[in-house]
Amino acid sequence: MRTDTADIERPAKTPAFQQLSPGRKAKNHIATTLFALAFVVAVIPLLWVLFTLVRRGLSPMLNADWWTHSFYGLLPNDFGGGIYHALVGTLEQTFVCALISVPLGVSVGIFLIEYGRNSRLARTTTFMVDILSGLPSIVAGLFIYALWITTFGLDRSGFAVSLSLVLLMLPVVVRVTETMLMIVPDELREASYALGVPKWKTIVKVVLPTSLSGILTGIILGLARVMGETAPLLILVGYSRAINFNLFDGPMASLPLTVYTARKTSTEAGEYRMWGAALTLVLLIMLINLIATLLSKLFAVKTK
């Protein structure tokens, strides 16, 4: 076999790889620009919101009192005070909401996927959950008002708020559990059955651990979401400027309610409180999202 250098250096008649045509280059440029533009349009409002929040809300929270005191006894023109009372309210109300909706929702999800598949009861439940997931938060608030306050004759309270949040949270938990259980391959369940492991133990020890990371993340993100709900708060609990630990008695502050109430104090100090509470709420939600990411990493299925 003899190869002439001249042969190699001679260009082939039709090269295998051709230059991009000018038309395609132009189209590529236009498309790239459009997508970049869309990105900018979407991101600007977000950054703007964050910027405004930080600019106006940062100074209150640099004061140590902000995290340890309430607004108790403040006059409309007084600066100072703290958000502690509202943090307590938001955290307690959300925690109790989680305490009720997580076990209930996860159980419903397990029933739907592991036991009820295709049964009439399961289909009906899925349908109800679908409806519930579209429920406007103001309606959830009204419903609890009608039930808890009008029918049972109980007082407005932080707990009533928790109940309305449960209505909003439950479909989220059921959905996320369903989705995460659904993607656990049946082969794993069969592998467990084939070892002589009963069904309930298969669910607890094989199926749930495999989907734990996803379920946890979904639940926490859902909690972060209901944490900012405001409509039920306006109906179901009175605002208090003092610290109230008791979910069952008396008015109780929370972060969204504080933002709403502070807005009505049309002084500079009122604005100061409003933006401080708003930034605190956003930071809290960001913190929770961060925790969700960490937990999902921690419980993720590892291969190495």
Partner: protein
């Protein structure tokens, strides 16, 4: 250990679909029985009915008897969980538990049944992994996730997991179909080793494999599309491959099929 299976007039259904008709055959203790036949003829279905895994599929139904040393696993009052503890299974696709370490995968059956004795679990881990020809490859990373092993290693891990609970019978559904020739040979050697203690039923599409590992071979076939699969014949492997009594068997084995 190692019990015989007598299958009598077995009919298997998926909802209204009659998948397998009238299978009667014997599986001898401490021997390897191979199921061969074209795709869709019901080999997996029959295999899965032997340890009551068939009924895991919603709408499925079983008629007939499967006798384990004379005891019908389908008798009323028999707990399928117990049946599966006595008749283990290895699947076509390796399916280690992704959340468990290699060691926990091996002893999963025991641990989930409540065994806590650490020393005993350690012993069984080593014995089962040695039995599955995997010990040397994984002994330094027993606490690493089972999902990090190669496909062939995962399949041997699943075999170790199935033998760790010391069943009487081991069912294998195309255990080598996703493996390279070297892993396949390793598993065939393993089967030859395991048959000293276990009764083994293996489904395979690989004729040479059936000829190499099995003592008796059962040929299943579909008489026609849409009709239930049937057992055509069963006999000593040497005879089935050299001198089958049915024309269909001969055609299938010699590749003159359909």
């Amino acid at each position: 250990m190692a019990k015989r299976l007598d299958i009598e007039n077995l009919n298997l259904y998926y909802n209204k679909f009659h998948a397998v008709q009238d299978v009667t055959l014997q599986v001898h203790a401490r021997s390897v029985t191979a199921f061969i036949g074209p795709s869709g003829c019901g080999k997996s279905t029959v295999l899965r009915s032997l340890n009551r895994m068939h009924e895991v599929v919603p709408g499925s139904r079983v008629e007939g008897k499967v006798l384990l040393d004379g005891e019908n696993v389908y008798a009323p009052g028999v707990d399928p969980v117990q049946v599966r503890r006595t008749i283990g299974m290895v699947f076509q696709k390796a399916n280690p538990f992704p959340t468990m370490s290699i060691k926990d995968n091996v002893v999963a059956g025991l641990k989930l049944a409540g065994e806590k004795d650490k020393k005993k679990l350690d012993e069984i881990t080593e014995r089962s992994l040695r039995g599955a020809n995997l010990w040397e490859e994984v002994k330094d990373r027993l606490n690493k996730p089972g999902g990090g092993l190669s496909g062939g290693q995962q399949q041997r891990l699943c075999i170790a997991r199935a033998t760790a609970v010391q069943p009487d019978v081991l069912l294998m559904d195309e255990p080598c179909s996703a493996l390279d020739p070297i892993s396949t040979l390793a598993i065939e050697d393993l089967i030859a080793e395991l048959k000293k203690d276990y009764t083994i039923v293996i489904v395979t599409h690989n004729m040479q494999q059936a000829a190499r590992v099995s003592d008796q071979t059962a040929f299943f076939n579909l008489p026609a599309v849409g009709e239930p699969g049937q057992l055509v014949e069963i006999g000593e492997t040497g005879k089935i491959f050299s001198n089958p009594s049915q024309k269909a068997t001969e055609d299938y084995i010699s590749g003159r099929f359909g």
